[in-house]
């Protein structure tokens, strides 16, 4: 498990004429056993990469849905070590798809950045997203992750300038995360036209770093609209809300989302 597998997953989807589908779930929502089960189901339903949120008490970049799910997970006892344990169990059950952990910096720093990277890699994690760690603060993480071949993902947004997009793409050893709109995570009704503009800009600046789009992407229609413009599509809050409402239908929904990733024609 490594950066290489992560990049290979995007390449494989592209070779398939698709964007990669990256479902996001809050690890431990509503409990650890359910997360293990849902990740296995997502893999079976065709998810290319899975992103697991490491719960944090003060998730600044998240909207209400993920904040609430995070609270549930923490109340049920989820922790950084608990997330690594979930990954270990998923691997033990045979899942091979790349797993990316998204976690705010404080719990990771408290665990110890170097120790965290080592334990995460050993547990079967392929990449990390730390949404409150800008490039300027990332030296320690990049070194620690690099030494165990964990891919680090930086984020770009609609207000990120061109030079910085190129810089962040080059620094991303995993994939590059394109934040579709300003604002927090959360399901939205439509895809903003500025999102497509951002993605087309990123396409010219990202070099060979694969990039995925997320924040607000909710439905198969959104996925179909964005898939031609990105290497991957991340669906988060809409799935977290579904887990809340009707976890049994998650796999079916992921299947529909995967079906929507087909890119018609050539880029």
């Amino acid at each position: 498990m490594s950066t290489r597998d992560l990049r290979a997953a995007f390449a494989a989807a592209a070779a398939d004429g698709r964007a990669a589908l990256v479902p996001y779930l809050v690890c431990g929502h509503p409990d650890a056993d359910t997360t293990v089960h849902l990740v296995l189901e997502a893999a079976a339903a065709g998810a290319d990469v899975i992103e697991l949120g490491v719960p944090f008490s003060d998730p600044l970049a998240d909207g209400e849905t993920i904040r609430n799910a995070t609270r549930v997970a923490l109340d049920a006892g989820m922790s950084v070590a608990g997330c690594l344990d979930v990954v270990r169990r998923v691997r033990a059950a045979g899942a091979t798809l790349p797993i990316v952990l998204m976690g705010y910096v404080n719990p990771l720093a408290r665990y110890g950045v170097e120790r965290f990277c080592a334990d995460a890699a050993a547990a079967g994690v392929d990449g990390l997203i730390v949404p409150d760690m800008p490039l300027e603060e990332s030296g320690e993480l990049l070194a620690a992750a690099g030494s165990v071949e964990l891919g680090v993902t930086f984020l770009v947004t609609p207000v990120t300038g061109g030079a910085r997009i190129a810089q962040l793409a080059a620094a991303s050893t995993g994939f590059l995360y394109c934040v579709a709109t300003t604002g927090t995570t959360g399901a939205r009704a439509d895809v903003a036209s500025s999102t497509v503009e951002l993605l087309d800009r990123v396409r010219n600046l990202a070099g060979d770093t694969p990039f995925a789009v997320g924040f607000g992407v909710s439905t198969p229609e959104h996925v179909a609209e964005l898939a031609p413009h990105a290497d991957g599509v991340i669906v988060g809050s809409a799935l977290v809300a579904l887990v809340e409402r009707d976890a049994a239908s998650l796999a079916g929904r992921i299947g529909e989302l995967v079906a929507a990733t087909a890119v018609v024609g050539v880029r």
Binding site: L60, N106, P134
Partner: protein, 433 residues
Amino acid sequence: MTDHLDTFRLDAAPMPDAHGRFGDYGGSWIPEVLVPVAGRIVEGWSAARTDPAFLQEFVGMCRSFVGRPTPLQVAPRLTAHAGGAQLLLKREDLAHTGAHKINNALGQVLLARRLGVKRVIAETGAGQHGVATATACALLDMPCVVYMGSHDIERQHPNVLRMELLGAEVRPVDEGQRTLTDAVSAAIRDWVADPDGTYYLLGSAVGMHPFPTMVRDLQSVIGHEARAQSLELLGGELPSVVVACVGGGSNAIGTFMPFAGDGAVELRGAEAAGDGIDTPRHSASVAAGSIGVLHGARTMLIQDDDGQVLPTHSISAGLDYPGVGPEHAQLAATGRATYTGVTDDEAMAALQLTCRLEGIIPAVESAHAISLALDIAAGRPASDTVLVTVSGRGDKDLATIMQYRAAHGVTSMNFADAGDDHHPAPGAPHVYA
């Protein structure tokens, strides 16, 4: 005669390094969406703090609108009560809107205007920063939204009404503990949605670079005046100890910094110990926290072993915050300043004493500083002087005070007896003729 404001400078203390770090603390741990706007504020503040025209406008408003300089006065009866060193009060409670928060709010609204931003948002705990921001926005014609935890809305209700009167929209925050930290998070989420059109006016010396620096620079007007006034009042001497309460740490850093180069002057911060530092119910981040990252800064933080931020408690909404300004973390690490917990009970006793002995109703936050100052003064000779910043007035706290009295079964207006457990009895000799 000078009023000391003519020698005030916003760039008296150095900027931290390019990453906004004070030693191991500070920095800018923010989502990428905020990186451009934080950069613009860093640039904007770097330019404004050295711009004579900006300084002149700020100082002019301090004089004409805030009523600065605020007095530095001897507290004769509190001094006698402590029975040791002489106590001096720096009267930020007399600043317009009733607390030091106006110094920062005015300065930052001036900056927002300079940056061409059209909308201001803020968080507030005690409501004083919200009132100050609403006031500055009314004066400078900016729309203003204030996030406030719904628990704080209950305990600081007069300030909610004041904000609304001043034309601000108060948005209740119903998450977490429904206090200051949740209000900061809600404000940051608002900012993230419109970083180009919104100015986030952070109310304390916390958060991402450059807020800890900018808030310090603006609040340093407190310490600058206090230092000059001390020299006058004490015949060329400086106080032996300078004391302030520490929530996020803005009145404290503003009081301390102008004395930081005076090696003989002790700097003492009063943190909220709530029910006691050895209980889970306090908000003493420096005294009882550990290193962590919250709201964009690496600092001392009340958290568990998993790095989850823990619930805090203080009777004062303004001190009820799990983190602290990064420069305080640095001052503590280097030993230049010392931070001590003051419990709810100790603060309420000091509050009552200050009312009865000096005719001043201090804010519950400020009462924490007064309590610590009384303790320090009691242990020192009459030749020493302890300067304490009274960060605000207590009118906003009447509901809290009444609740506290009810909870402690106090029926008369006088609950000063509690104070006599913590401080020497009155009757010690006056040190002033």
